[in-house]
Symmetry: C2
Subunit: 222 residues, 2 copies
């Protein structure tokens, strides 16, 4: 039914399911996290904006769920191996206030999008197009840039605190990603094969780091 995708016995199939499962759980937990942040919004308009962003994540989740069903896989089965690592990331990076929430959503979404944009080039169609589609900006960016810029304008202390926060988020994300790959041989092989070799993976990490720093700069946190 899905001629362009590898068969179930192909190791590539397992890696594609893993990547979609991790992305799907990422969307579901983004929904959770943004819905919770919405409650701390300082205005009713901000609360409605954040709630809409959370709803957009669920729209993406549903697309991934349908696509996985087409591959003969239940979303919950595909997501399960990644729930612990993604939950752990959110637990150790629980924001302490509204600004930390915004910075986390902005930098975290950017990092995930950069990573999946690379991966989209390594998987067959129609999965590749789907991955690009669910990475579409849900409207966080402009909103977060505006709010953070206003907050750090008058306070070097707030800026320093948020800069430290931004660097920590990258460290925690990489740490959890390493746990996942260490536990899933098939996924590790997929990365090595797709990126060329081990130095290809190092280059990918370097690239993600550079783009993260660029985004920190856009927020005024460099």
């Amino acid at each position: 039914m899905d001629g362009g995708s590898p068969g179930k016995d192909d190791p590539g199939h397992a890696a594609v399911v893993d990547l979609l499962g991790a992305l799907a759980y990422g969307e579901l937990s983004a929904f959770d996290r943004i819905a919770e942040d919405a409650r701390t919004a300082p205005t009713l308009a901000g609360r409605a904006d954040l709630a809409s962003m959370a709803a957009a994540e669920i729209g993406h989740f549903r697309l991934l769920e349908e696509h996985l069903a087409g591959l003969g896989v239940l979303a919950e089965d595909a997501m399960r191996p990644f729930a612990a690592a993604i939950d752990a990331y959110h637990q150790v990076t629980a924001p302490h206030d509204w600004l930390e929430s915004l910075v986390k959503v902005y930098l975290g979404d950017g990092l995930a999008a950069d990573f999946y944009r690379e991966v989209a080039g390594w998987v067959p169609e129609p999965t590749s197009s789907l991955v690009r589609q669910v990475l579409a900006d849900t409207g966080h960016s402009a909103f977060a840039e505006r709010e953070v810029a206003a907050a750090i304008e008058g306070s070097r202390q707030v800026r320093d605190r948020l800069a430290l926060w931004g660097r920590r988020l990258l460290g925690e994300a990489i740490s959890q990603a390493q746990h996942v790959v260490a536990e899933r041989d098939g996924l590790a092989e997929f990365f090595v094969r797709s990126s060329g070799d081990l130095s290809g993976i190092a280059a990918l990490f370097k690239k993600l780091q550079t783009q993260h720093n660029r985004r920190m700069g856009t927020l005024g946190l460099n």
Copy 2:
């Protein structure tokens, strides 16, 4: 720009804005509440289902927001007078577990839908059609009926506890609605005028109560 609607100086305009504002805040707080309940779902599939229902509430909220904008009113201004009463309702009826959450969503949505279906007959087009549209079932019903039926099948104790819970929800909803109407003369006048007289309001309450009891029966809680 909205020829069918009363002008701003018409007392009917204020009542329509009030009703839409209360409905909009109801959707926004339903989003919050269902998003929170999703986190306590016993399975990943149940969690994804509830998250989708929450997202549907935001879809409805956006329709109301657009319609209010067409009447020249910001949603946050229309919602503000009703936030305290709706928040108070949710605070005194905070569910203690997953089953209480499901019963609350099922009965609460049903009650709100019955109320607004009556009101839709009292307001001009296109508001009337919009109100009917946002009352469309977001998919809670079948899901809640199935889960609650399974839970009470083997336990009279669970059934009795949930039956008590269902009766309490109606009492608290009526109590908060009375607070709101007591504080907003224009809204009270609108109800009296629209329903005919004070006995018309009594008849409406009676009807809502009967339909609530019928839904309790559908859940097996009579």
